[in-house]
Symmetry: C2
Subunit: 200 residues, 2 copies
């Protein structure tokens, strides 16, 4: 495992993700919730309902942590002790500031939408109404305090275990793959699936 | 989205996972870290180096949150507003108690190892030495305060958008799949890959 600081690698890890795990501190202790996000430059955007207690807590200035993890494989070592996982993770600590101006809020929502569903904002779906915008809380977080960790490669067994040669060792890679699109049952029959979905 | 309480569903979500996101509160605010875990009955086990600040904080009685999330698909709605994700998540808040007796610690490590790499503890790898055990911190957390959320199915669009029929809608499923095992370069050539790895 090694800590990297290169901004490009941080951006790559964030851009390759679909959801993050958002951490905050509540009256009942730490709380970690899966949620969508998007990145533009060195800003990470979060969004959600204005009724969501977690986002309102953050909008009030409470510190936050956003973690994005890609699990790339299981590391089978010769010893149980050196079993591990190959992964890439980004951990961002800071404060999430509400985005208040309309243009900024729409930009942030575009970024979050494009992270989850590329093409949906730019012609693929109906854009938010004023009422929908009013029901949406948008937060921005600076990537300043980001920490990146990456583990790759074979197990790091002890020399004695390698020499003893009593157990198999290696990596079983893990990938996220798309399945076949499932059209909404309310669509007219025979409607073609757009390339932005089928070609993802 | 709906909250379910059935214990069986909580167990299923935890058992299907490979890593969790562990949340704790530090001097610099909330911190969310990816880590391995295992479940036995209504106990969730965590482990790590005795040198890991995060685990030591928890062992001291600080409240914790463990979240396991499966992202099952991207929900393309007719409106940006109703875009969503299909997922299953379990959120467990509580206190992680150090496991101190040797038998209990070995049992917990077996559970964590089997979650990550089934078969490794029972013959697939060398078991921990006394020195390795001494370097390992084992924590147990009760599943009592667990909350399960599951979203499945097609988008929940507004009737007007369905009637307007201007945009495709549906779900793009997402799966985790195993790649081809990558034997450790230090293994003798031609060593067969065990069924517990190749057949996973």
């Amino acid at each position: 495992m090694r800590a990297r600081t290169a901004r490009a690698e941080l951006h790559d890890i964030l851009d390759a993700g679909l959801i993050c795990h958002l951490g905050l501190t509540t009256d009942s202790g730490p709380l970690v919730l899966p949620t969508c996000y998007g990145r533009d430059g060195d800003t990470l955007y979060l969004h959600g309902s204005t009724g969501a207690a977690s986002l309102r807590t953050l909008a009030g200035g409470a510190p936050a942590c956003v973690t994005v993890t890609h699990l790339d494989g299981i590391v089978y070592a010769r010893s149980v002790f050196h079993h591990s996982a190959n992964y890439r993770s980004a951990v961002i600590q800071g404060t999430a500031v509400p985005v208040l101006d309309d243009a900024g809020r729409r930009h942030a929502l575009r970024v979050v939408t494009e992270q989850l569903a590329p093409g949906s904002w730019d012609g693929g779906a109906r854009l938010p109404t004023e009422r929908e915008m009013a029901a949406t809380l948008v937060l921005a977080m600076d990537l300043g305090e980001a920490s990146v960790k990456v583990r790759t490669g074979p197990p790091g067994d002890d020399e004695d275990d390698v020499a003893a040669d009593e157990h198999w060792a290696g990596v079983l890679p893990l990938k996220q793959t798309w399945g076949s699109p499932e059209p909404c049952p309310l669509l007219p029959a025979g409607r073609p699936i757009p390339e932005r979905v089928s070609g993802r």
